[in-house]
């Protein structure tokens, strides 16, 4: 397991991944939405575009996990609480929406929306911590 490196170092290492990967994600999704016609593009092109957009996000998730391992103990505790609360809230939303879909109450929801959904709940958990709220 990676040893804690201290708050400043851990943050610098995280930003060194986050900034370029987020830029890469923005470029990939912009290029894909602008130049790829979903009706006429080959399967290979569409698959390549999907992977090119998803890979930077996966790199950011891995960087978050490394940040949690390397940062100071209090920040680690808060990050783990936010990640677990975010995960629980997302899972709850999936259960509710999933059963609503199965009983034909709501239309099908695109699977990939749960990615941004997780970051929304993760941010919400951080906000609750800042306000001094706990589950």
């Amino acid at each position: 397991m990676t040893q804690p490196k201290g708050f400043r170092t851990a943050n610098k290492r995280y930003m060194r991944i986050f900034v370029p990967m987020m830029a890469l994600y923005c470029v990939a999704i912009s290029v894909a939405l602008t130049f790829i016609d979903l009706d006429t593009a080959s399967t290979g092109v569409r698959m390549g575009a999907a992977v090119a957009i998803a890979l930077p996000l996966i790199a950011i998730l891995m960087a978050i996990l490394r940040l949690v391992r390397e940062t100071d103990e209090y920040t680690r505790m808060r990050q783990l609480q936010a990640l677990s609360e975010g995960g629980v809230m997302l899972t709850g939303a999936i259960f509710i929406l999933g059963f609503l879909e199965r009983f034909n109450v709501i239309p099908d929801i695109p699977l990939f929306l749960f990615g941004p959904g997780f970051f929304f709940f993760y941010g919400l958990a951080h906000l609750r911590q800042s306000l001094g709220k706990t589950v």
């Binding site: 170092t9 100071d72 103990e73 209090y74 920040t75």
Partner: protein, 71 residues
């Protein structure tokens, strides 16, 4: 657990951010420890004690004296 880190910090004219930089932790960590919301681990408590050139017991107090613990 109570502590007198805020007073020790004030004696030296350090801000929470400056203390955080010296300990290589976040400012939020320093604030949480000072306000008693978070009790530091042993290594961090030792680092704080070394920084202020005090014994741990002179900085942190869990409200139980050694005499009471022996009873």
């Amino acid at each position: 657990m109570e502590n007198n880190i805020r007073a020790l910090r004030a004696e030296r004219g350090w801000s929470q951010q400056q203390l955080a930089d010296l300990l290589d932790v976040s400012r939020q960590s320093v604030n949480a420890i000072e306000t008693g919301k978070y009790d530091p681990s042993l290594p961090l408590a030792f680092a704080i004690a070394r920084l202020f050139e005090r014994h741990i017991e002179e900085i942190f107090d869990d409200g139980r004296s050694v005499a009471k613990a022996a009873e």
